[in-house]
Amino acid sequence: MSTATGYNFAYLDEDTKRMIRRAILKAVAIPGHQVPFGSREMPLPYGWGTGGIQVTASIIGPQDRLKVIDQGADDTTNAVSIRRFFARVAGVPTTERTSEASIIQTRHRIPETPLREGQILVYQVPMPEPLFRLEPRVAETKRLHAMADYGLMHVRLYEDIARHGHIAISYNYPVMVNGRYLMAPSPIPAFDNPKMDRMPALQLFGAGREKRIYAVPPYTAVRSLDFEDHPFEPVRAKAACALCGSRESYLDEVVTDDRGGRMFLCSDTDYCGERQAAVQRDAAE
């Protein structure tokens, strides 16, 4: 695809990139702390990943290879349009393979293939404040973070246990970063939380509407909140992928008819596709 003319490299102007870059560096220096930034109007609406796009636009260069996923899939509207956007305004090569990408922008999943050093994972974040449903006043949540006062969240988890017998949060499960800051991991399934802990890749989070950037440096402790007698348990559908047979990956449930028929598929399309290709190669040999 040809590169669009009339735009600066990667769409944003240089003043905006500098402002976002300064915010990213401070976010990396204070793991899990939300740094405010001047979020710009982007050529797509809030809620479509404007925070992630602005972070990606500020870090991306011609030597990068970009992968974009939406709920694990490379071929859904949001992922396709963001990938085409950067192919046009930055002229960067794109890929659907996790292992080939240097920057992976994601909406609500972490790829199944383990990430390595040299890769950067950019999350699109709708609500960066983990205490948002418990304390609506932003000024008050800032004070709670300053004092590392996270009792509200523990009470919320306790109430879940009292009411349901277990912690009933299946996505956006709150985590402690480096033992200091409570952080919203964006609405990834709780199944993905353990992958954040001591990940070799750098993790950046951008929230466009809420105008916040935060980060988890490589090899940083990320612990899902829990209690000694109710330890954190990642949830996964008890099934195998209908296409590749995986019993380890995170599965989507697909309704196939109106008589209760359903099947389970890998949410990570690249992981599933590579496993199917490997099976076919083995069969051909």
Binding site: K17, R18, R21, K26, V28, H145, L202, Y219
Partner: protein, 192 residues
Amino acid sequence: MTQPLAAGFADPVLEAQHCFRALLEAMSRPGRVQRLAGALAPPAPLNLAAAAALLTLADADTPVWTDAGADAEAWLRFHAGCPLVAEPGAAALLLACGAPPSPPALEAGTEEEPHRAATLILQVTALEEGTGWRLSGPGIEVAHRLRVAGLPADFLVAWATNRARFPCGVDVVLCAGERLAALPRTVLIEEG
């Protein structure tokens, strides 16, 4: 007397991006030394890495303090358009070629807004990976080793004080020639 002003980045967009990725990699893996490419020729006494870092991060929104002298100040004012301040405590970015201002005099942010802390760019004579200090903390799998030549003798004492203020505290970028490494406020430095 007046010499022509030295040039800035030849390609401001891509060179700033290249330098920022080096800074980001340095800040997220403390103690790893990054090497900058490019033909930037800043006025003395600025070295390539420190000058590139300033052009990448400084603009009208960032008050800069420096002890680099009139040539460097004129160069910065023209190419970065940043306000220059005399008081180290008023600066968001500091560039020290000689003895750095003591960390307690610098903006360290507040408990609620620790991101307002200053970034101190220190010019040193040499940076070498794999030997010297033992660094640990976020961004480091087990330990990184970094030898820095040309720091003031009391740097480690000042660093321990700085680190104890977390989440407040300044972040440091060390620059030697075209090489740079970073020390975010979280990093623990042990000698030997």
